[in-house]
Structures are given as structure tokens and as C-alpha cells.
């Protein structure tokens, strides 16, 4: 399998002094569905954001699709970013705007500045956005402001927005942590489909082992900014789980 993301000795220390990542060495291959496990504060979000430099790494190297991310200039960085769809725990949609405009914002990495400034979208882009909304089952909500949608619907709009980028991979930062279990599974299902049918690489942080086993092809667990486990979801037994989440942790079955 072709390697698609590579990090070497990646460190991040925040201005506050928190040493969030302590030397991450990681190779992710095309088509993998990676589940990032770990307590809140273990460095999962920081790691995801250091990969596309939403957060600047303190030291170390990141290579995505054979391109040096850390030393990329702003234009190169934007070209790398637009190949990575990203979805977030809080959905991070533009709440006052319609679902359609939100989905269209996924094209920003491709369109000219003046088209974007005028909110003047190409006909093809609008058709594509509608198709993507249809794909996540939300075509009838296209003209609705996203703040009026439910959590699960908002996350699906966010997935449609990511699809507009024609991404090679998807980063998902606890995409289902704000959703109820049933909705969570339906959102994960879309990521699973993208992974299976389009061979899209997914890196997704989660807390639910059941979802990890169902969708993940490989689990990477972080603790205190270091990788403490890297293997298949089936290898995680009670003992491993407790070593990741601490002595008092118990696995919660959500379905």
C-alpha cells in the first residue's frame, strides 16, 4: 500500500507550556480508516491539526501526498489543505448561511478570489453542491439556514462540504462526540462508505470502541502526547483499553 501521510518526530509545545505532542512517528497508508483513541487532552486534536498546519508544529516533519507540509509556503499549503476534507465535533458550519452556501464553501480552495468575495458561484459548482447534499440525504434542506438543522444534519452538511474538495483523505476530529448514539452511527456510516467505495483515507478521533471496531481498520492510541498503541481494533482487549484510558475506565457499549 502507498503511504499517504508520514510524520517524523513531530512535537508541539503550546505557548502556555503544554507539551501536547512528544515525538510522533506515524505512517498512514492509502485506504486506511484510522481511529485515534485517547483521553481528552492526550493530543488527538493537536495531532490532526498539526497534519494540515491549522496548528503550527513546534518541530518535526509532516509529509502528505509526497509534499513537505511543514516547509510549504502559503500557496502550497492551501493546495495541500484542499485535498484534505475536515470535519469537526462542533460541525463548524457558518450558522447564518444556507446549507448550500456552506457546502459551496468547500470549493474555496479552488475558486478565484473575486468569485468567492461576490458569493458568485459557478453553475457547475452549485450542481455539484446539490449532488453532494443529495448524497448525504439533505437535498430538501439546501436553502435552509444551518442553525435550524439538527446536530446530525449539520454534521452531514459538513461532510458534503468536505466532499466538494474532492479530498484524497478526511480528517475527523471527534465527529460524533456531540451526537446521540443512533445519529453517531449514521454519520459514521457515511465515512465508512467513503472509505470502502472511494478508497478514501480517513483519520478519525473517537471515544467509542464499538464504533472503532465497526469502522476502523487500524487504531492508534495516544496518551500524554505519545503513541501507546498501534494495531488492529480487534487487538484492544480490556487490559489494553485500561492502559489507554486509565484504571477506572470501563468500556461503554453504545449499541
Amino acid at each position: 500500500m502507498k503511504s499517504i501521510i508520514q510524520t517524523t518526530n513531530l512535537h508541539k509545545t503550546y505557548d502556555s507550556g503544554t507539551h501536547a505532542l512528544k515525538g510522533i512517528n506515524l505512517t498512514i497508508h492509502e485506504g486506511e480508516f484510522i481511529i485515534l483513541l485517547g483521553l481528552s487532552g492526550s493530543g488527538k486534536s493537536t495531532l490532526l491539526r498539526c497534519l494540515n498546519r491549522l496548528i503550527e508544529p513546534s518541530s518535526g516533519d509532516v509529509t502528505i501526498l509526497d509534499q513537505d507540509v511543514v516547509n510549504a509556503n502559503p500557496a502550497q499549503l492551501r493546495r495541500i489543505r484542499r485535498q484534505i476534507g475536515m470535519i469537526f465535533q462542533q460541525f463548524n458550519l457558518i450558522k447564518n448561511l444556507s446549507s448550500l452556501t456552506n457546502v459551496l464553501s468547500g470549493k474555496l480552495g479552488y475558486v478565484s478570489l473575486w468569485h468567492a468575495l461576490a458569493f458568485n458561484h459557478q453553475k457547475d459548482d452549485v450542481a455539484e453542491a446539490m449532488a453532494n447534499l443529495n448524497r448525504v440525504g439533505l437535498s430538501e434542506f439546501a436553502r435552509k439556514k444551518t442553525k435550524n438543522l439538527s446536530g446530525g444534519q449539520q454534521q452531514r452538511v459538513a461532510i458534503a462540504r468536505a466532499l466538494m474538495q474532492h479530498p484524497k483523505m478526511i480528517f475527523a476530529d471527534e465527529p460524533v462526540a456531540s451526537l446521540d448514539p443512533a445519529t453517531a452511527d449514521s454519520v459514521m456510516k457515511y465515512l465508512g462508505v467513503l472509505n470502502h467505495e472511494e478508497n478514501m483515507t480517513v483519520v478519525c478521533s473517537l471515544h467509542f470502541l464499538s464504533l472503532a471496531r465497526k469502522y476502523g481498520t487500524r487504531v492508534i492510541a495516544l496518551k500524554g502526547g505519545k503513541i501507546v498503541f498501534d494495531g488492529s481494533p480487534q487487538e484492544i482487549d480490556e487490559a489494553r483499553f485500561q492502559s489507554i484510558y486509565g484504571e477506572d475506565a470501563e468500556e461503554v457499549e453504545i449499541r
Binding site: 491539526r49 485535498q83 464553501s105 468547500g106 470549493k107 478570489l113 468575495l117
Partner: protein, 334 residues
Amino acid sequence: MNIEKVKKRVLSVILDLVISVYFIGCIAYLANEWAGLSVDLLYVVIVGVLVAVVQNITGYSIGCWGYGFSAEGKKPWMHTFWGWFLVVLIITTFVVGWIIVQVNPYKFFMKFQNAGTIVNGIFSPNLGILSECLAALAETIYLALLATVFAIPFAFVLSFFAARNLMPHTLLGNTVYLIIRTIATIFRSIEAVVWAIIFSVWVGIGPYAGMLALMVHSIAALTKLYSEQIENIDHGTVEAIQATGATTLQTWVYAVVPQIVSPFLAFTIYRWDINVRMATIVGFVGGGGIGLLLLQQQQMLRWHNVGIIIWLIAAVVWTMDIISAKVREKLQNS
């Protein structure tokens, strides 16, 4: 002794110096008022400094207490020197203030008949000059409106560069942020009345000077309000748009602007409301409009004309107040 402790000690000495020179100065002022004793300012400073030094070294001072060096520990204030010193200081301040401001309740209650002419004027306004007043009033409203509208684009653009969360934490980013914030603060702390005096000399007395004065003040005020609003936006959206590969300008337009449009409108309407009120005051010092008319009529002691002007100003301010409150309420709920 570490640096933090030295810093605290220095600050406590400065505080004691200020307090005790002020206190001795108050006593000297009272001695002059009540006993005719004229004390040289030099002696006030010397005595004040001596008192402060003695207090600070012995630990019986407000500064020592404030920075944790008090010789009196954590005793309740009634049992401490600094506590009673503070009480005496507050009482002295009131006494001195009372004398300086020439407070005189007798005059307030017994000399009411002096205001009779004005009250009479208010309740029998001269409707004969109504058309002249309305023209001046229109001037005031328009100048307030233009001052607000012209201020919007400047404040809008500046506010992005004065928002901490949008400026990169680089030398350039920090410098731009600091310069714009500082200039806005300085311009805002200069009252519109002062700007009106400057511009009435610059472009001549009249509504144009008043408009420029309000505009400068509005730019500074709106820049601050706008940028604080930008600092309060949801950062997640910014992150999400950046992650699509958007440029900085695209990110601002898509992730920042939609979040700030309605609060910006609310602030702007509120600003117009303030500007209409300030336009009257600005008129007094050469800014034109109803304020200028009021000043002229007052100086000629035409109290019936002053009466009609006061009614009109009250009506406009009241109307603006209601409209602006209603619109802002609508915006907040949308």
C-alpha cells in the same frame, strides 16, 4: 529577593507616595481655605514624601497593605492604622471636593425663581420660529447620519486588523494590531466636542465641521466595538474554512463576516443614535445644526425660542431611542 517581590515593593512605594502627597496636599488646601495659611507646594511634596517613606518602611501604610507587606498582618481594618487612614482619606476627599465644587444646597432650593424665565419659555414655546428650527434640526439629523455612514467603511476595515484573533502572532501582526488599537483609543478619548473645535477652525463653522468631528469619533468608537465583536466569533468556523484551502481574505469573508453582520448593524444604529445626541452638543462649539441655533437663542436670552428648540431636540432623541432599540431587538433575534 526575587524580581516579583522587588516589583511589588516598588509599586507599594509609588502608591504610598501618591497617597501621602495627595493627603498632605488636601490638608494644605484646607488650611488655606479655613485658616488662610498659604503653604508652598514644595513643602507639601517634601512632607508627603517623608510621611510616605516612614509609613512604607515601618509597614504601616495602604501601599504595604495592598501589596502584602503590612506590619499589621491580616487584622480586620478597624484595628489597623491603614484602615483608619483610608477612612480619613475618603472623608477628606469629600470635604475638599465639596469646597472645590462650591456645593450649595441653599441656592438649589431657594433660588428657583431665577430659572422661572426658562421654565416659562419651555411651557410657552415660540412656534413662530418652527420652520427655522426644523431646518436646523434636519441639518443635525443629516450630519449625524452622514457621520455614521462615512465612518462604517473605515471602521469595518480597521476592525479586522484590530482583532487579536485574526492578526497572526508575528512581529508584523502584533505591530499592526497595537498601532490601530492605540490610535483608536487615543482618538476615542478625545471628545467629539474637541474634534468639533478643531474642525470648525479647519473647514469653518457649520454642519460640515460637526460631521467631520462625529465621523472621526465614530470611526474610533466603531473600530473598537467591531473588533471586540470579531474577537468573540466562533473560531471553529474559521478553522473549518481554512481547512478547505481558502486564502486569508476568503476565510474572513466566509467565516468571519457572516457572524458579525447583524451585531455590526446593531452597533452602527446605536452609534447613529448617539451621534444624533452628540450632534446637538457639537453644534454648540461650531458644529452647526440645532445646537448652534440653541446657543444663539440662549445668548440672546430668547427663552421662548429656546423652549421650542428643547422640545424638538427631546422629540428627536426620544424617537431615535425607540427606533434604534426596536431595530436592534429585531437584529438580535434574527
